[in-house]
């Protein structure tokens, strides 16, 4: 039995090769192993997933993890398998019938099954799950339950029902970005007596800075200046794929000694895998990317995260800068701001939520494939869910339409507000660290190195003493083959 103090650490070492737990992990693990329904928050990059993976491996039965993004779950499975933990699987809508059946038939043999919220509700999936011993039900990215959260997912509201139908196994709700408001919302929706383990989200090893610039070219110049003096693993985030590619090419041209590449959702899957692994294995110095990059990226030594555009929410900003310094050493987060940059995220939220006309016409469109083509995926998901829900509650279509419109307005307001909060953060003249995290917590640990450009940091004077440069690839093909097959 792994109940005593030593043996939990032993198990951690056996399965994951770490000798000690990081902050919070052990407390969360002990809580659910005692059978407490638990709500836990841990900062990004602090090893949230260990909190359910270890108990899942130690206990009897299957642990079901509800995860909002397919790419996230596929990456998790890949990473676990690469660590030699093979009894894991994913269930999602991208799989064909045969693949799903393959997983479902062998359900009991798995220790961890990642599942999208919509798959959980499918009758045949739920029935199969009911026939198994469910050890834990884990709700990853639990802030998706809350309408006040930055990534509200209507499907998440049905988790309560699923949990009931599965006979209320021990539930763990995890998030890296839940304000006290959202935390309360999660507990309210799940309607469980939950043990709350809330860790502050501030990362003591990140130094924050913002540079205000007049035009696009100034941003590029600022990048060039910073990167010519510093040679550390760097990520640069963009909101636009086109600009991402352009700047990547430009930087490569400017710095022939560095290895620069780009990554975004519009690339072929195979190329994406290559670029991601090149960055992981220090074959790239700089990666220009969109928010598509980063799922499951666990590179420990990223020293610099730059935002070329502004992210739509404080939460996504916290998540993205959280990729830096996972090894615990000092790192810098820099945001480049040009007046008017906020217009882009404002435009984007318009694409995410349906217009009046789209809401009004939705119930009268017979052909669902036509609708899918017409509406963005998020809009379609939103409308399908809302109409189902209001109809089930006995509302007429007309009443549903007006309910949905007002709900849409509320969501729009939430999203607009979060962009405004982000812009206020950029324009603040008080401590950036405090302001970034104040919505989530009251106290802050003191920074490991510099705090922020409002307190004690000047990015223009900054210079990393140590350098980490990419490894070049071997000289000629024969040598390359010999190294590849360990025949030097």
């Amino acid at each position: 039995m792994y109940k005593t103090k030593d043996t939990l650490e032993e198990a951690l070492n056996i399965y994951f090769g770490f000798s000690t737990f990081r902050q919070g992990q052990k407390e969360i693990i002990s809580s659910i192993m005692k059978g407490n329904h638990t709500l836990a928050t841990l900062p990004t990059g602090s090893g949230k997933s260990i909190c359910y993976q270890l108990p899942a491996l130690l206990g009897e039965g299957v642990t079901v993890v509800i995860s909002p993004l397919i790419s996230l779950m596929v990456d998790q499975v890949k990473i676990l398998k690469s660590k030699g933990i093979k009894r894991v699987a994913a269930l999602n809508s991208l799989m064909n019938h045969q693949q799903k059946q393959q997983v479902l038939t062998h359900l009991q043999q798995y220790k961890i099954v990642f599942c999208s919220p919509e798959m959980m509700q499918q009758e045949f999936v739920l029935n199969k799950l009911k026939g198994c011993h469910i050890n834990y039900l884990v709700v990853d990215e639990a802030h998706c339950i809350s309408q006040w959260g930055h990534e509200f997912r209507p499907d998440y509201l049905k988790i309560k029902q699923v949990h009931n139908q599965l006979g209320e196994p021990t539930l763990l709700a995890l998030s890296a970005t839940a304000t006290p408001e959202v935390q309360a919302d999660i507990v309210k929706h799940l309607n469980l007596d939950m043990h709350k383990i809330i860790y502050p989200m501030d990362r003591e090893n990140i130094t924050f800075a913002v540079k205000h610039l007049d035009i696009h070219e100034d941003k590029v110049e600022a990048l060039e200046n910073l990167l010519s003096n510093n040679h550390v693993p760097t990520m640069i985030y963009f909101s636009s794929r086109k600009v991402c590619e352009e700047v990547s090419r430009l930087l490569q041209g400017k710095f022939p000694d560095k290895s620069v590449s780009y990554y975004h959702g519009g690339m072929e899957q195979e190329d994406r895998l290559l670029i991601q692994q090149q960055f992981m294995y220090d074959q790239l110095d700089i990666i220009c990317c969109t928010s598509a990059f980063g799922m499951g990226v666990d590179k420990p030594n990223i020293r610099l995260v730059i935002h070329f555009h502004i992210p739509p929410t404080i939460e996504s900003y916290i998540q993205e800068v959280g990729r830096a310094g996972r090894d615990g050493y000092h790192c810098v987060a820099l945001l480049l701001y040009q007046k008017g940059d906020e217009s882009l995220p404002f435009q984007l939220i318009g694409n995410e939520l349906p217009e009046d006309e789209e809401i009004e016409q939705f119930p009268f469109q017979e052909d669902s494939s036509y609708l899918k083509e017409l509406l963005s995926e998020t809009k379609h998901r939103f409308l399908t869910f809302q109409f189902d829900q209001w109809h089930q509650l006995g509302f007429t279509t007309d009443d549903a339409i007006s309910k949905i419109k007002s709900l849409r307005d509320e969501r729009l307001a939430v999203k607009r507000n979060s962009i405004i909060t982000m812009v206020n953060w950029i324009k603040t003249d008080s401590c950036r660290r405090k302001m970034l995290y104040q919505g989530f917590q009251d106290s802050f640990s003191s920074p490991l190195s510099f705090c922020c450009d409002q307190c004690d940091f000047d990015i223009d004077q900054w210079n990393w003493k140590e350098e980490k440069r990419s490894k070049g690839i071997e000289l000629n093909w024969e040598e390359r083959l010999r190294i590849l097959f360990n025949r030097r």
């Binding site: 072929e268 290559l274 692994q277 090149q278 000629n476 083959l481 590849l484 097959f485």
Partner: protein
């Protein structure tokens, strides 16, 4: 311009006869009888389906460019090469000496390429005793196939030296530039493969030219492996040979052993299966693979003798045939002779086997 030139060269085959778009569909390997017949008719078979990921917009840009440079003239749906267009093609070009065999290989080249990449990655990590890594190819079927293949290699070889030897041998068939190019696509310990965009930058060539060159290398590999399977006992198994594909899984394993020169006794021994099972495998192979020689099991003289017996009894019933032959001739040998494609047995008569 290099890619444009290549398109111009292909266009020259169909001028006056087809629209410029016909070349686009041909390169993408469109499965319509028109496209397939055209490839044959205009001697474009080598190029059929060699660029399946070509975008329409890219192609249209090339056509527009060729038109702007007055290398072709498009008139409603017909088009012609201009004098300068024709002159341009008279010189030697980057593609003049390149080999493709799209008609034959376009359906299998991608999966072969992926299997080779994954095999090399796996062999590389295992050579360094690292069993945990993130596979560079995600397809489940490819992963399963390579996993089995690796299993077989580990069962019968001490290490991955023979694989390196075969890879090296394959690479030796290439020009230095090609060997450089393809070796950079490989992933393993010490290097992660480069994407086509990165290769394009490194070799200072257009990404289209790079993709076509990589495809040409893959086709050269395929041709080499298909023509000389015996020189590549392990890598040749990565080829989805159509004949081979129809074989049962266990039969494929037996075939691999045979290819390595083992006789039935040895296979029975190392696989721990019954002799009759292995014999069944050999018969299955002989039935389905016309190129498979039965000479190791039946001499030419014996084959003739068995054929005579078959003619004599005017039946394919094994018992009757055997009664005409010396005691030493086995049922297995008779079945092998019958299994050859010109001796097709009726289903009913196979029941005889259990006698």
């Amino acid at each position: 311009m290099n890619f444009d030139l290549f398109i111009l060269y292909l266009l020259s085959h169909v001028e006056n006869e087809r629209t410029p778009n016909s070349i686009f569909y041909m390169l993408r390997g469109k499965k319509s009888s028109q496209a397939i017949q055209d490839a044959y008719l205009f001697k474009l078979s080598p190029y059929f389906g060699i660029y399946p990921s070509l975008h329409k917009a890219t192609y249209e840009n090339v056509i527009r460019e060729l038109e702007n440079k007055k290398l072709i003239v498009i008139d409603s749906s017909q088009f012609n090469l201009t004098k300068s267009g024709r002159e341009l093609l008279n010189q030697k070009h980057w593609f003049s000496s390149l080999f493709w065999n799209g008609q034959e290989y376009h359906q299998m080249d991608q999966s072969f390429h992926q299997k080779l990449l994954l095999l090399c990655q796996t062999a590389s990590h295992l050579s360094y005793r690292q069993s945990n890594f993130i596979p560079i190819i995600e397809g489940f079927i490819i992963q399963q196939e390579v996993r089995k293949h690796i299993q077989q290699i580990r069962n019968s070889e001490e290490d991955f030296k023979p694989i390196l030897k075969e890879v090296y041998q394959l690479f030796s068939q290439l020009t230095t530039e090609e060997a450089e190019l393809y070796s950079l696509t490989l992933t393993g310990v010490g290097q992660v493969g480069l994407s086509s965009e990165q290769l394009a930058e490194r070799f200072d060539q257009s990404v289209h030219v790079i993709r076509l060159k990589v495809k040409s290398i893959i086709h050269q590999f395929l041709q080499e492996l298909i023509n000389h399977p015996n020189s590549y006992p392990w890598l040749s198994q990565l080829v989805d040979d159509n004949e081979n594909d129809k074989l049962m899984k266990s039969t494929k394993v037996t075939l691999n052993y045979i290819k390595k020169g083992m006789n039935i006794e040895q296979i029975v021994h190392s696989r721990g299966l019954k002799r009759s099972t292995i014999e069944d495998h050999v018969i299955e192979i002989a039935t389905k693979d016309r190129t498979f020689s039965i000479r190791d099991y039946v001499s030419l003289e014996l084959e003739e003798m068995i054929n005579q017996a078959i003619d004599q009894v005017k039946s394919k019933r094994l018992k009757k045939i055997k009664s005409q032959l010396p005691e030493s001739v086995s049922y297995f040998q008779i079945r092998l002779v019958l299994a050859k494609p010109n001796n097709i047995i009726e289903d009913k008569e196979i029941e005889d086997l259990n006698v």
